[in-house]
Symmetry: none
Subunit: 191 residues, 4 copies
DNA sequence: CATGAATGAGGGTTCATTCAT
DNA sequence: AATGAATGAACCCTCATTCAT
């Protein structure tokens, strides 16, 4: 419980960016320290070691993302409306935390994630699975393994995010709408 | 002019598997040597260094995949048929080279890939882009950035592959058919 | 002119205990600060650095021990009586400063002791040497290098102290008497 | 099981010398590597880490010393003769392995010694304890805690060794004989 | 005065790479 | 050609020391 919240968050921000850009193993503690403009030793005042840092980061953003997806979730609406809610929240979350979703996706399943991180992650998956499973029951979502459907949604969305950040595309309303529609068509049941 | 094709390929096979499973940075040369049942020094007879090895591997499988996609490509058929061709070849390629596509996807864009690898990769993308662009002209593919559509296709497919390899799912004909249909619905133009 | 004698002595007490228990190199400044219930920085108000601290401590207890040995030393008595005096003072000193003699013995000769510490220590040795040398002249002490005899005395005594502190033995009058007798027999001249 | 026994033993020799001279914590791996004229990394081909190195060393010399004490031990002789045997073997062992006994004595009980090392060490102590206990039964050894007696013997002997190595004394037959006599008088029963 | 957050030099350790065999 | 022992640069991490509060 450090009094200087800024420094701790500088470290987390730099770590998030570098882990997302280069991956955990290719990111050194000196790199993070340099980017966060702190001494290398300072990182160890806030995080026991590199693995604790990456797990903290992972769990933090999984939690934050989960919270954002669940907030005001339209429990009683149609699958389409629920999907819209989820997709919009993904967009919002990405706007607020630039590298977070990409970091989560690329580091999920890695050897250095602890039990707690894995558990939290499967919690996140569960939200999406529940949405899909309920939609399948209702006949609004196609009969395919939920994991595969989730991959399609995330895959498309994250690739979009990369293109926007690298300025190959502009984040227009039309574009976001189009990708949402595409992903929805991938998961919805067609008659 | 490799005198011993087997040993070089043993190394490449082991490297592919380990890079796909653990990532480039978490895979050590002794690990590869051990898996390939050669001495660590032997790897340096065939590859100048670790980065050359990973670039060789990357380019090799990008080329092979490109070749497989292009072979007997139904230039004159409908987008749906072309899509079917591409999807079938992805399945076939994955069957023949277990970790290759996953390796390519997870290592694409990494800091250690050289210009040549990046170029080859964009060549691969071009095949898919051309297919999508032509389909868009014809009004058979939806008007969305091709890169985003490609991500959806790959994302869904690779996730499927993981689930099958981890034996969470069985590779039934129905399943493959369903994922193909889902991906197609994501990219095709809906009236 | 220390304004706060208590805090400085808290630090010295904690340092003595920890140096004796773990050794100089395995004892960290934060450990000492924690044990003394002061901030780590506070230690540097009283001691320029860790080496100054250990040298201060070393010299302090060497001086104190020397003082105790010399006080009321029976200059004119027999070697046996002089020995008894010295042995009793060792017992008394140990009772008053639990870890001090063990600290001195284990840190004597260490690389971080400065010239002054070494000099003071040899001063301490001198007292014992003078006693032994005079005893040899008188024919009451055996003809052996004084250093070896001192080692026997200290060795036996300190081992005894350890056993008592670890509660493997109880500090009975008989026990102390027995060890004194044993050490005396080691150094005295036998006819 | 390295083929190059010399290099492994160079490392052990250097480590023994430096641990004895400076202690475990003050001895760095680069110091050992430099003294042994090997690269720092080479040490890790032979020893998993620094603690394994020190435990290996400790156990090796405890075993060797134990073997030397036990070999041709005069089980049926008087305590005096048994003591002579033990003392002579200490001398011989020290001649053959310069720093070994001092290293054992100063590192015994340290926090980095593992269970196996402690067990082996107590085995060594047992030999001396058995000798002393049997002597007490016979009335040839004085009634004092064996540990205290052992300390006297070792203390005197090791101090002697130091003096000889630092060339403050010469290892004459008379000197060794005198110290043996002194130690014997410390432990034997006087009527 | 007292503190403890911050620092960075230096330790233990790993591993890409070399080279004698 | 093939090996794996040897190396040392560079990693993660600790801790003596400083300094703003």
């Amino acid at each position: 419980m450090p009094t200087n919240r800024t420094k701790r968050e500088d470290i987390l921000d730099s770590a998030l960016k570098l882990f997302a850009e280069r991956g955990f193993d290719a990111t050194t503690i000196p790199m993070i320290a340099g980017d966060a403009r702190v001494g290398a030793g300072t990182i160890y005042r806030y995080f026991e070691n590199k693995e604790v840092l990456v797990n903290t980061l992972f769990q933090h953003y999984v939690q934050a993302f989960k919270g954002m997806l669940e907030e005001e979730y339209p429990q009683e609406s149609s699958s389409r409306e629920q999907f819209h809610h989820l997709f919009q929240r993904m967009v919002q979350f990405t706007n607020e935390h630039a590298h977070a979703l990409y970091f989560i996706k690329t580091h999920n399943g890695a050897y250095f994630l602890n039990e707690s991180s894995r558990k939290q992650f499967s919690c996140l998956w569960k939200i999406l699975r529940d949405f899909l499973d309920k939609g399948k029951e209702r006949g609004e979502i196609r009969e395919l393994p939920s994991l595969a459907l989730i991959a399609i949604i995330f895959g498309g969305f994250l690739e979009l995010e990369q293109l926007i950040r690298s300025e190959e595309l502009e984040a227009s309303r039309d574009l976001l709408h189009g990708v949402e529609e595409s992903c929805w068509d991938a998961v919805r049941h067609h008659h």
